[in-house]
Point group: C2
Chain length 440, copies 2
């Protein structure tokens, strides 16, 4: 990420900190605030990209020259940036961890200017992927094991957003994505069929199907709703018989419009009557977790779902209220008292307890020096600016999330969960510190 | 943009097109569908980045090797990509143009595989900036000439999204942005004050203000809500007197929490009573166009607004239903008949008429060969893969949008506009063609 993808005030503050040698150790924590309506948990994601950002943030000569040319900054600041390299520690919850409001998922412990300079970039990386993973997890819950593919690159808020959304959804259990670069960059399985334009470019729908089958015989899925979905299904059934001679098998059909529940039933009947029980039905077109849930509840014989815009933009909750807050400076706890935004100071840990069958029973949020019961979720991942060990692979993160989801109390695994809050206790030492940290 | 930031099906389709030499001229158009509830117009933006994408899309050897390694593609396709360079024409509405559902804002005329390959990237660029510009325009309307600054990089869906959101909001009339790179990349004015962490890192709020004033004397704005907003205002008033001896003047205070209308009034009174009528009040903190409107309507003495998340994520409308549709291939109009998604085929133009005072009276959407009345909005911007002339600068785009907004009927300039639709007529030749373009 370009080092100038930051807010101007970060640079202003660092200039001011350097002017007074305010370079003592600062502790910043990133956390989410109140859950959006209907939501019952968050999923931590984006740590990998956040750590890459921390490790690689540099200000190359061209950037320094440009900053000097603005006339806004003095030599001490420009010299500081020339040699900038993060030297602090980072603690974090592993990606794929389910978490709750006010629980820190990342902590930076570093000289104040370093911690401050990272703010905008860290929020950007952690917020977005956690936002998408938290949305995707709901789709995974709704799909009950059926195929789920991310189709949302085109309406994601930038190409980078589309790529990172593919990653964030895959780690929650999506089957794959249509985004080709996600395969190259992250090894995520990719899926692709055909667009309506392919059908329309031919003068005849059957001809288009046949042409596509000959050119793309692997994992062959045909889009059948361009003109008339049931007619399309009949054409596919006939073509599938005909293709047997060339040893090409039709794997699936895709429906992208109309009453998907009703069409899936009639298409299933058409295919079955023609002896094609093995051709699967894939649905797409403006779907979200509620629609997937509704379709499955209706008994629609749909084997897989493509979800796009609702996933990659988290369309009902386009952003989560979150913060990267100064919790300690120069050995003193820090807090602000802006109305409605009171925060808990100090270096914190989250302990999670489980019942004997492995279901989560509650979290305790307290100072890391407290002796909490259960599993501590925040671990050191970087010391003196260097990662302690290679990051877990996406498969490991998927496994972690799957295990977290299995441990989640079933009342929190509903799509609507207003009154079903998970208990997060604030430990006494943290409460005491918050009480003792007054405003200036 | 990485050439692999695309959907797999684009590559599948191009492979199939090449296999049958389907390389005749295709016409694709990009347009938005139905307006979201409460909205009355769209703003075209992102053309500059879209044209850059079209002009520079290449598949370097490393990409070809990777594609070959997937085993999915044949030599004819890989050879095609090796030499890929867009050779077609592009017509578009200039950025900053107000437009309505079904009106094409971009048309690509090119050999079918070329037009198809561009789909995902073009939608991504045009959708996102048009989304943000359409949201930002509402904030500009609400702010009635007051200062408006984009604070939303941190919660934008990626750094690229934040940067492009700064551009899209600036072209609608925003005063500037906090995103530093937007100044370097696009010349957009940047603004920055201080965060709460700066205050909290000091043991005393006044000391923090004074320190910041000494280090950052230009455009000095102090954040006064960390502990107690009215106390903060009194401290600033006293400090402003004291700073006069060092010829530093406090330009403004920022409120970021609490009842902004009430606090702005009491802060204004405190500052005025101390003789500091010249210190302006800037407000931020979870604002959107409705809140800005409400604050201004309440008479709150706020001189400028910082808006963040609601702007850069277009939080109430995180995506707009839009499409890049094949409208013609090999000289024949094309359309699909998927339920609820019927499109208008052919190469289209939009003509706009105005009354004698320059107010828009209606648009006509018809075939470009039709003889429409009024101003044609879709112009040729690229011929044979090359731009016809340098793109307009951001100041020109701002001027165009400002003029468009002035021409917009006042009933459409309300924040809520359900029943106030702008008339877009479909011309007879287009209607006839749509009737005559049957499904296969």
């Amino acid at each position: 990420m370009d080092p100038l993808l930051t807010d101007l005030y970060q640079l202003n503050m660092v200039q001011a900190y350097l002017d007074r040698n305010m370079t003592d150790t600062a502790v910043f924590e990133f956390f989410m605030r109140k859950l959006p309506e209907g939501r019952s948990f968050y999923v931590a994601a984006g740590l990998e990209q956040a750590l890459d950002y921390i490790e690689t943030l540099r200000f190359p000569p061209e950037t320094i020259d440009w900053l000097a040319g603005t006339g806004r900054f003095r030599e001490n600041f420009l010299d500081y940036l020339k040699d900038f390299r993060f030297t602090g520690d980072v603690h974090a919850m592993p990606e794929g961890t389910i978490f709750f409001p006010n629980e820190p998922i990342l902590r930076v412990t570093a000289p104040l200017p370093e911690g401050q300079l990272l703010e905008t970039g860290l929020i950007n990386f952690l917020h977005f992927q956690s936002l998408i993973a938290s949305k995707a997890a709901r789709m995974v819950i709704a799909a009950r094991g059926r195929t789920l593919v991310d189709f949302g690159l085109r309406r994601a808020h930038s190409g980078e957003a589309g790529l990172l959304a593919a990653r964030a959804s895959y780690l929650t259990g999506f089957t794959g994505t249509a985004t080709v670069l996600a395969n190259k960059a992250f090894g995520i399985p990719i899926y692709g069929t055909m667009a309506h334009s392919f059908i329309e470019a031919h003068d005849d729908e059957t001809e288009a199907f046949e042409h596509f089958a000959q050119s793309r015989p692997d994992a062959l899925t045909l889009l059948i709703d361009t003109y008339d979905t049931e007619q399309g299904a009949r054409k596919v059934a006939a073509l599938a018989d005909q293709l047997k001679t060339s040893e090409i098998s039709v794997q699936g059909v895709r429906l992208d419009s109309g009453d998907l529940a009703a069409l899936a039933k009639s298409v299933r009947a058409i295919l079955n009557n023609a002896g094609h029980q093995d051709i699967s039905i894939f649905a797409s077109g403006g779907l979200d977790e509620y629609e997937v849930h509704r379709l499955i509840a209706s008994g629609a014989p749909i084997d897989g779902y493509g979800v796009g815009t609702s996933l990659t933009t988290s369309s009902d909750v386009a952003a989560i209220d979150c913060a990267y807050k100064l919790q300690e400076y120069a050995g003193k706890a820090r807090a602000k008292y802006s109305p409605g935004k009171v925060t808990l100071p100090g270096r914190k840990q989250v302990w999670r307890t489980y019942d004997e069958s492995g279901v989560m029973t509650g979290d305790t949020l307290s100072l890391e020096t407290d002796s909490g019961e259960g599993e501590p979720l925040v671990r050191r991942v970087m010391r003196d600016g260097r990662r302690l060990k290679p990051s877990p692979g996406l498969d490991d993160i998927r496994a972690r999330f799957a295990h977290n989801l299995k441990s989640l109390p079933s009342r929190l695994r509903k799509l609507e969960s207003r009154p079903r809050r998970y208990p997060v206790d604030v430990g006494d030492p943290l409460r005491d510190l918050a009480d003792k940290t007054p405003g200036a």
